[in-house]
Symmetry: C2
Subunit: 138 residues, 2 copies
DNA sequence: CTTGAACCTCTAGTTACTGAAGATATTACA
DNA sequence: TGTAATATCTTCAGTAACTAGAGGTTCAAG
């Protein structure tokens, strides 16, 4: 059995976050000692690892809840899990695309300014003030 | 003079968001009609455009506040603005890098699963449960 | 002068945590 | 066994950047 601190060290999830996960139902309520402290079994550890890994990959808590549901009904179709992962993948790709276009414009703005004058003549500020200075819409 | 709705249409910033910006001090308090409704001048419109553009580029409200400070003291060095923009650029690049590595792993996970079996044997779920199946740390 | 759209304030909710206060439990060591 | 240090407990509030709704008032057009 693990204390909440040991669980935390084992997974890299903060103690407060573990309690939060319990509160919102992502983790089930663990046993308690007589003094009311939480004690976790290996299943809880594995579940938390799952959650951590999925969070690291950018899944929302909601998506993770769906995935847990699936895990717990092994007869269900695998397609749902694949769909969720796919959706996440598409989302990541969308975000990359958007960030790339931001990067481009930011790089252009930064490049246009030597950083030497006063802010009155700063190209960075001018570019931010005036959308017309953008290469294209965003 | 613009009403808050006209300002909203002109900038693409929602009415509620405009009021929120005022509350947190990003926009200064505008004049009011006798009936207590907000009326904005052109300066306010331009300032909101600036904020919108910077937000679209991913600047935090805090960074935007610094930029506004700079705009309002034209004798200050332009370097500060360039620094903020540069920091933002670096941050965008960091995020892109991280998302790329997520994309890679997600693609691998999704690819490993046909979506046809039951969730019991689902590779997506297995990969999320077991960090060992990852190609590298993240 | 009426009517309907736009506006007002205030409160609460969103996501996914994080931190602090003040009290209690456990553990290690003497 | 006693005590001190560390860990844990609950509860509440705060973070970023909005968004939405209730219930009431004002404006502008016909």
């Amino acid at each position: 059995m693990y204390s909440i601190g040991q669980l935390s060290k084992n997974t890299g999830v903060k103690v407060t976050t573990i309690r939060y996960y319990e509160e919102i139902g992502v983790l089930t309520e663990p046993e308690r000692t007589q003094g009311h402290q939480r004690r976790y079994d290996v299943a809880a550890l594995e579940r938390l690892r799952f959650v951590k890994h999925a969070r690291d990959l950018g899944f929302t808590i909601q998506a993770i809840e769906s995935l847990i549901q699936l895990q717990e009904s092994p007869e269900k179709s695998c397609k749902e899990a694949t769909d969720i992962a796919n959706e996440q993948l598409l989302d990541v790709r969308r975000r990359i695309k958007q960030l790339r276009s931001l990067e481009k414009e930011l790089a252009r703005i930064v490049k246009g300014c030597s950083g030497e004058g006063t802010s009155q003549s700063c190209y960075v500020l001018a570019a931010l003030a005036d959308h017309e200075l953008c290469e294209k819409d965003h």
